[in-house]
């Protein structure tokens, strides 16, 4: 019998028992939904890392001072990660060609009678490059997909020079709202503001920015704050030497582990860290790469993912057994029909094809319903944790494939059983 006729016959037979078929598909529906959810979870974990660590390129290592809990308070685990540690790193570690440094906090800034508490970023000359590369914010009304450049963030003025960044120059860049608030609409460029009682020249004002993600636009205050050269920030805003954040750029992304080992070696010497009795080192700094973050995030998603995979497997097996059961009942009910079909010339393979197609039609409908349920459930799941759940379009063909496979695997035995009936006995069956 031709494929079309086999399919039509199967559809007809399945729709003749709608309720039975629907109940049978339930296991497959749950299984396929779980498959979609599992993949959405893994995909979401990956996307969350991509989004949260976008600024951390795959050729970069983030280095921070380590902290530990002592008497309920967080304190430095050892020596601080100093400005000098960062400055000398490029020289000492040959796999590193650049070490970007930054520091952040909040500070009081005044102009005339206006005074504000704002967040500050102490950064090097690449500060705006970093801001552009983070891509979490963009100028208001920035065309979608257009590449962000550091210049696009500056409304008026210029960025720090590398010399200013190193030489504690008394210059600063004000964010859009901060400039508005301090100068109440007057021109800020070239004026002096007082940051922690030190005068500072405003060399640039940023354009009005907004988060790229529309969901974040109401929450964040991206237009408040100011930028200082990191050397200036350290001198003016801290009583004692602070720890800085370092992002080290590795020359060869294939040698990340090697670069990490070199950095560890370099900082171990600078911080004079000695091995303990067992030869292990207790570092007072932490290194993070995108790969590390991905691993950690996926680890978090893995437990839940595993649970869903188990649910998928169990429901598909249960669903498959349900299909097998219904098909066995169907074969018994239709013994006479099988006899008639054999008598008028159906070959064994025609009978196998007929019943196998029926099983697959049932499982495929379960698959389609399951995919629908899975796709619809993702927005619901996303309201609980947006970062973890992200629909993966590739899960559709996979889920459908799993459903079809379930139909074939569990439909085979009933179909073979039907084809092995003796036509004479089948014709006599009451």
């Amino acid at each position: 019998m031709s494929l079309t006729n086999t399919l039509l016959t199967a559809l007809r037979s399945v729709t003749a028992n709608k309720l039975r078929a629907t109940l049978t598909t339930l296991g497959v529906i749950i299984g396929v939904t779980s498959v979609i959810a599992t993949l959405a979870l893994g995909n979401g974990a990956r996307a969350a890392v991509d989004a949260n660590f976008r600024f951390l390129g795959s050729d970069q290592i983030q280095i921070n001072a380590a902290y530990k809990m002592k008497d309920g308070k967080l304190e430095a685990a050892g020596k601080k990660l100093t400005f000098e540690d960062g400055l000398l790193m490029t020289e000492a570690v040959n796999l590193i060609d650049r070490a970007e440094m930054s520091i952040g906090g909040s500070v009081k800034v005044r102009h005339g009678r206006a005074a504000l508490d704002v967040s500050f970023t102490g950064a090097d000359a690449d500060a705006l490059n970093t801001l552009a590369a983070q891509s979490r914010v963009q100028p208001v009304g920035w065309p979608e997909g257009k590449k962000l450049t550091p210049e696009a963030f500056i409304a008026r003025g210029r960025s720090f020079t590398p010399a200013e960044a190193l030489a504690q120059a008394d210059v600063c860049i004000l964010a859009y709202q901060t400039a508005q608030d301090l100068f109440e609409g007057d021109e800020a460029l070239g004026e002096i503001v007082w940051i922690n009682r030190r005068p500072c020249e405003v060399i640039a004002v940023l354009t009005e920015l907004e988060p790229i993600d529309p969901d974040e636009r109401n929450r964040s205050r991206v237009n408040d704050g100011l930028f200082l050269p990191i050397s200036t920030a350290i001198r003016n805003l801290y009583e004692e030497e602070p720890s800085v954040n370092i992002i080290a750029h590795v020359t060869d992304p294939n040698r990340m582990d090697e670069a990490k080992a070199q950095i560890a070696e370099y900082l171990r010497q600078r911080h004079t860290i000695e091995p303990d009795a067992s030869g292990a080192y207790e570092y007072d700094f932490r290194m993070t790469t995108k790969k590390d973050m991905l691993g950690a995030q996926q680890e978090a998603a893995r437990t839940f993912s595993l649970l869903l995979t188990a649910l998928a497997a169990v429901s598909l097996v249960v669903g498959g057994i349900g299909i097998m059961n219904v098909m066995l009942v169907s074969v018994t009910e239709r013994t006479r029909e099988i006899g008639v079909r054999m008598a008028i010339g159906a070959r064994r393979r025609d009978i196998v094809a007929q019943f196998l197609t029926e099983a697959v039609v049932i499982s495929a409908s379960g698959g389609v319903l399951g995919i629908a349920a899975g796709v619809l459930s993702i927005p619901v799941a996303a309201t609980f944790n947006k970062d973890i759940v992200l629909f993966d379009p590739r899960s559709i063909p996979l889920a459908l494939g799993v459903a079809l496979l379930t139909g074939v695997v569990f439909g085979l035995y009933p179909a073979l059983r039907a084809s092995r009936l003796n036509p004479i006995e089948a014709l006599r069956y009451e």
Binding site: M1, R336, E337, G339, V340, R341, A343, I344, A346, P423
Partner: protein, 230 residues
Amino acid sequence: MIIETDGLTKVYRMGNTEVRALRGVSLCVQAGEFLALMGPSGSGKSTMMHVLGCLDTPTAGRYCLEGRDISTLSGDEQARIRNTRIGFVFQTFNLLPRLTALENVALPLLYRAASRSELPQVNSRPEPRRRASAAIERVGLAQRAHHHPAELSGGERQRVAIARALVSEPAVILADEPTGNLDSKTGAAIMRLLVELCGEGRTILAVTHDANVASYAHRIVHMQDGQIVE
């Protein structure tokens, strides 16, 4: 000669006892003949019909259909013989309840379409439908072609079954108690239809224990204890 059997023997086991259903049956049926195979139950006439219908293989002996020895064919080859050379008419009609009369009639042709390389003549799509319509018209049921079996009377159902047997232009139509589930008047009409078909050159072999039915045949063969007795 359409059918020629030589010393057909069929032995099968039922539990521990060996049943010799056929004990060397030699039978010849000529083209265009209407033959009745009579005998009481257990005489072996049903087994004979199953062997002749390629639903069963003989334990020993030879069976030639249209001059071709088909006693030792594989399952698929047997299915093809049933599909193309043999038309079955059953006592209980055996129509598929979910299909219309026309679809029931066309069913053998659909199974044939699968092996289109072997039978290119039914390659074109409307062919099965056209032939099924012709067959259903031949048995006088053109008006009822789109009814389901449940909406048809017993006599009409048997006519549909006869149309299904006719549709593949078989070498022989095997009718197993064709009037067994019909009242005498309807049964007589069915027998007259079979006689008409025979008159059109078809070979018909009816298996029955009813002398009335047998009286329509050109020739009656009696079986008893797995052998032909006269």
